[in-house]
């Protein structure tokens, strides 16, 4: 441990740092899924999109030397994944959940297959802003070294909340998600709105992937996501389809994910690995605590296939 050790204070600090560092993929995936689900469709394939986005961003960054080109490339392939999902779901008698699972496996497999040769080379990282410059403690500086994408995600969450209430597109999205019939009666084409919403959701999820491979942990390998894309879907339900709620829930999940490493770093040597499971346990506990067999989840878009 460091000379300037701050003892047990390191745990809350590490949780704060983890909340900021680990939450970014959750933020992007859950905001993307919020847009998709608000349109009345579920895309469970975002785990695959996330991993494929991570691979694409890393590969492009290695080849071009620009991490931002990597992010842009990831968005394009993410949108393409979303379009495929959305397009298949337009066909009659297709179940969006089943397609989502298929797309998840497809995305994972394709990413592992195409990404084999990029496990070794190192890619340039995304930039971060040192908000901790005022502090003499390295831990504080490390914790407040905040990536640009985290800030973008936070801004996006608030922008999305505003847009859902104050723009034509936002209202259209909510109409389609709540009642397919009402949307048709207004001359809105629900299939088209859902296609676009799924594509945007895919693009956002891929940005989350780009963050994984280009910043934290900052390398491409096959175990890079470990189910974060799926947890983000659960998080959307927990956040009641509210973008700002997604942001806060992502922070909570990020903090929980940092618990294990934080305990390890302050010298807890036994049992800390149990805390590595904290995000997964948290997912389970939250889903049980906020669900009821006798009533639907409040705020759930009426046209979601889960509701029917």
């Amino acid at each position: 441990m460091d000379d300037t050790a701050i003892g047990l204070w390191g745990v809350p600090l590490a949780i704060l740092a983890g909340a900021i560092r680990v939450s970014t993929p959750f933020i992007f995936v859950s905001l993307g899924e919020t847009i998709t689900e608000r349109s009345g469709r579920i895309n469970l394939g975002l785990e695959g999109t996330l991993v494929f986005g991570a691979m694409t961003a890393y590969a492009i960054a290695v080849v071009t030397g620009s991490p931002w080109l990597g992010v842009a490339g990831a968005m394009v392939v993410g949108a393409a994944f979303g379009l495929v999902h959305g397009f298949i779901c337009r066909l009659p008698k297709v179940n969006d959940i089943a397609i989502g699972i298929a797309m998840m496996q497809f995305g994972l497999g394709l990413a592992f297959f195409l990404g084999k040769s990029y496990i070794q080379p190192a890619a340039p990282h995304l930039p971060s802003i040192p908000f901790g410059f005022w502090s003499g403690l390295p831990q504080v500086r490390a914790a407040l070294d905040i990536n640009v994408l985290f800030l973008a995600g936070a801004a996006l969450a608030f922008a999305l909340r505003w847009a859902l209430a104050n723009t034509r597109l936002g209202l259209t999205l909510r109409v389609v998600g709540d009642s397919t019939d009402a949307a048709r009666a207004m001359g809105i084409n629900p299939d088209r709105v859902r296609l676009v919403a799924t594509a945007i959701g895919g693009a956002f999820a891929a940005v989350g992937g780009a963050y994984l491979s280009l910043y934290y942990p900052g390398a491409w390998n096959e175990g890079i996501s470990s189910g974060q894309g799926l947890m983000a879907v659960a998080l959307v339900i927990f956040a009641r389809w509210n973008p700002v709620g997604c942001f806060l829930a992502a922070l909570l999940f990020g903090g929980a994910g940092a618990l294990g490493p934080a305990l390890q770093s302050v010298g807890v040597t036994s049992g800390y690995y149990l805390f590595y499971a904290a995000p997964y346990a948290l997912t389970l506990v939250i889903m049980i605590a906020t669900s009821s067999p006798n009533r639907p989840v409040p705020g759930m878009p009426g046209a979601l296939s889960l509701t029917k």
């Binding site: 104050n166 723009t167 034509r168 597109l169 209202l171 259209t172 909510r174 109409v175 709540d178 009642s179 019939d181 009402a182 009666a185 207004m186 001359g187 009821s292 006798n294 009533r295 409040p298 705020g299 878009p301 009426g302």
Partner: protein
């Protein structure tokens, strides 16, 4: 605010006349609408009467551009127009208020109004929109809160908001499709009175589809009656007696008649007794609490109330679909949880609303569905093997007894019409001895002959000594069938009266929550 309208023809807030000329609609070899010519003069309140399948909705859908009529034409404001889509209909100021709500439940009233416009700005300036909406609402006879999500509004408010939406969009001719089916009598009177006022001021022409004669009589100027796609009569409402309207609607079909009411045995014991039963409602936020409810052998107890006041939950509690938080249900003096064994022992039968979804396996055959009560107890004993021949005999007997119209015993029950599904479920539930019958909205959406027959069957079950709990949103039905009527409001029973001495106004007031 300038009223939003798509094109300045005819002027918004100005009634317009509509006329159909020889309107005919064929689907394959079936003629749904046969040469119907009708005139709806500007500023009139017109009514359209007819049974299910008489062609009312086909006619209206042709006017509104959902269907292209096979032949015939449409005149709006004295000029022939081509209406190829609902969008075209909107151009000419034609609008429709549907039987089911088309508002988006999670959006507020204001959001619903703004997003339904043809032109919505990319970024909505809510301060300005709110001012414009307040100005608009000042000119409307309706008072509706616009800042709450629509799902929190009462049914009457939703229905008014649907009408307001059409007026906000600048419609001059409105079709109202059974607009009062979800309203209390007082709400219905108020709403139709306000709409009538608008027609009298020449702001609106109204065509109302209805099956309630008293509404047609009270509010409409003219009436047109359709039967099997043909126009069979019509004219000024005051020139046609109600009996004649009914006769024109149903033709020469003989309706089943209600048996006389056998007096209930004064000493009859309660078959069903609910005491202090509490269960959460659908939202899970409020509780449905039935303090005390007895149904004795040989009586029909009617439960009145506006949809969504706990009647559905009550039916689910009795069907074992909704666990009780506390309290109890006794049948025949013993605790009852609606297990299959208990229903057999106490001879309880259940006819839920929307029987195709709630009491049938839609894709299984008519014969299989009819055999659900009997398949495991052939000849009074438990049986392991399903006897197909016994099933067919049993089902064939029921189909004949209850006049279920089906092409074959093997066709899926989902292929039957609504009335025949209801007859099939009735056949299954009323065959054999019945001590307790629970029925919910048995006649919803059925035509006259089916309604008359189903009511006659329920009365016959009562006279045979069954205790009947009848949950219905149709007050006329409750008044006709019940011995006692209880009113439910906000999850509680708030009023009880003998059906014979019942005062509709008092019942309506309790339904609306004024108690």
């Amino acid at each position: 605010m300038a009223v939003i309208r798509d094109r300045p023809l005819p002027a918004a807030g100005q009634a317009v006349s509509v006329e159909t000329l020889g309107m005919t609609m064929r689907f394959g070899s079936f003629t749904a609408l046969d040469d119907v010519s009708l005139r709806f003069p500007a500023g009139g309140f017109h009514a359209l009467l007819g049974e299910n399948g008489a062609g009312k909705s086909t006619l209206v859908k042709c006017i509104m551009g959902f269907y292209r009529p096979t032949s015939g034409s449409l005149m709006v404001g004295g000029r022939e127009v081509e209406v190829a889509s609902p969008r075209d209909a909107a151009l000419y100021g034609l609008g429709m208020v549907y039987q089911h709500f088309t508002l988006v439940p999670s959006l507020t009233g204001a959001e619903n109004l703004v997003i339904s416009r043809a032109e919505v700005p990319a970024v909505i300036d809510w301060a300005q929109e709110r001012r414009a909406l307040a100005d608009f609402m000042d000119r409307m006879p309706f008072d509706i809160p616009l800042d709450r999500p629509v799902r929190d509004l009462a049914a009457g408010q939703k229905q008014k908001l649907e009408i307001v939406k059409q007026l906000y969009l600048g419609r001059s001719f409105l079709v109202l499709d059974e607009p009062t089916s979800v309203l209390t009598p007082a709400e219905a009177d108020e709403m139709l009175g306000l709409v009538r006022g608008m027609t009298e001021r020449g702001e609106l022409t109204v065509l109302m589809i209805s099956h309630k004669f008293h509404e047609v009589r009270k509010f409409a100027d003219t009436v047109a009656i359709l039967r099997r796609g043909r126009l069979v009569g019509g004219g000024r409402v005051d020139g046609i007696p109600t009996a004649e309207m009914a006769a024109m609607m149903i033709g020469d079909v003989k309706l089943a008649e209600l048996d006389d009411r056998v007096p209930t045995d004064a000493g009859a014991k309660p078959v069903l007794r609910i005491s202090r039963a509490v269960a959460p409602d659908r939202s899970g936020l409020k509780a449905v609490e039935i303090a005390d409810l007895d149904v004795r052998a040989g009586e029909i107890v009617g439960i009145a109330g506006i949809s969504g006041n706990g009647q559905k939950e009550l039916a689910e509690m009795l069907a074992g679909q909704r666990p009780l938080a506390s309290g109890g249900i006794l049948v025949g003096g013993r605790s009852y949880a609606a297990s299959r064994g208990e229903t057999v022992e106490h001879r309880v039968r259940f006819i839920p609303e929307e029987p195709l979804q709630n009491a049938c396996a839609p894709k299984m055959s008519v014969a299989e569905n009819l055999y659900f009560r009997a398949f495991d107890r052939a000849g009074g004993r438990h049986s392991f093997r399903l006897s197909k021949s016994a099933m067919r005999r049993y089902a064939g007997r029921l189909v004949a007894d209850f006049k279920v119209r089906t092409s074959s015993l093997d066709s899926p029950i989902a292929a039957l019409s609504g009335g025949n599904v209801q007859r099939a479920v009735l056949a299954r539930e009323l065959t054999g001895d019945v001590d307790l019958l629970i029925v919910a909205n048995p006649c919803f959406g059925l035509d006259f002959s089916a309604v008359a027959e189903i009511r006659a069957r329920i009365m016959r079950a009562r006279n045979a000594g069954a205790a009947v709990l009848l949950i219905s949103e149709d007050l006329d039905e409750l008044l006709e069938l019940s011995d006692r009527i209880l009113v439910m409001s906000e999850g509680r029973i708030v009023y009880e009266t003998k059906a014979q001495a019942a005062d509709v106004a008092v019942i309506g007031a309790h339904m609306a929550g004024h108690h």
